[in-house]
Symmetry: C2
Subunit: 209 residues, 2 copies
């Protein structure tokens, strides 16, 4: 199971420093939507990370104008780009095609969509499907049971990522469960005093299980 660390709401300089420190501990470094919208893809393009081991995910949250945004995202060195499941099926199909052409990856963010929509877009074999609890939503999110439910409903979907306040215990539970491909952790790593140590603890919790 892979660890994706989401970097958000910091300066681009801090984000770059953090990304280099976490390269090789995290399997995927995410530059969150706040970095994309605060600094823009052109600035991210001009400051290439040149990660040694980790992949770079740019959380574009594309919802329209898919081809334009994905071309820009790959130019900005993204290895994995995100599209919202709430987009039109046309948008998702188009960005999938572009992603395949570039031999890169895409994550379909399932934020705030129902099962009907998931069924309509469940056929993108190489896509990662991201279970995502809104940051703005109240209430606790149980990543382990949410992943189990999703897997039961959509057994054909092979690559699942999950995000939403995941802590060490949940990461360990997800690793034991074996359904999820990637665990996405944000503030529980980036918001700590020592993000490198916190990331190592997550990797450990995910590996021991």
């Amino acid at each position: 199971m892979k660890l994706q660390v989401a970097i958000d709401r910091v300066s681009l300089g801090e984000a770059i420093t953090l990304a280099h420190k976490l390269d090789g501990i995290a399997d995927v470094i995410e530059f969150g939507t706040s970095l994309v919208k605060d600094y823009g893809l052109l600035m991210i393009k001009e400051n290439p990370l040149n990660l040694k081991q980790a992949k770079l995910l740019l959380d574009l949250k594309t919802i329209d104008e898919g081809p334009y945004e994905f071309e820009r995202g790959f130019e900005a060195h993204g290895d994995i780009l995100t599209v919202m499941a709430g987009s039109s099926v046309d948008t998702i199909s188009k960005v999938y095609e572009i992603t395949e052409q570039h031999q890169k990856e895409m994550l379909i963010d399932l934020l705030a969509v129902g099962d009907d929509k998931v069924n309509q877009i469940a056929n993108f074999a190489n896509a990662i499907y991201g279970l995502h609890h809104s940051r703005d939503a109240a209430g606790h999110f149980d990543a382990v049971s949410a992943s189990a439910d999703f897997h039961e409903k959509f057994p054909a979907i092979k690559r699942i990522a999950v995000a939403g306040g995941i802590d060490l215990e949940q990461a360990e539970g997800l690793a034991k469960q074996g359904v999820v491909d990637t665990v996405i952790v944000g503030s529980k790593i980036i918001g700590t005093v020592d993000p490198v140590q916190a990331a190592k603890e997550f990797k450990e919790a995910m590996t021991l299980s």
Copy 2:
């Protein structure tokens, strides 16, 4: 009826020049999502437009982390910000509250949502509701009949904007119809040899009717 001109897929410098030329002809200048994601809100903040008459809409297309994005958007001199109808109701409620506090405006982009979702979020009295045909979708969009249908289904919604390949004839039809508050035009103005002249023609078509 107001004319909103959407500026997209040009350099920030060109966008600023165009915005100044269109100020006073267009009632609202939109900096499209491509400008936000290419250049970032910090860069837009550092280059204030100081429009004399028009309002500035920043097409954030917020879908999560609403409070963060809206605070950034208002700091970047946006008078009107956009949130996706596909967001969680929590996100929309939170950005509405922030918008009211700032005494600014918000547009709820109805891209790719069904009537059920519109019903859930139809109660934000001061919000503008944007009918929006995806740029990535195939097929013709009839703005006049789409607006009539929407008004019939949701008579309580008073402020409607409409976007999606609108031409002069449709703009005139919308003005005659009297249901829509704002017509959003992009390439039919910005993609012409003389955007100022094109914008004047739209205003004229909308006024004569």
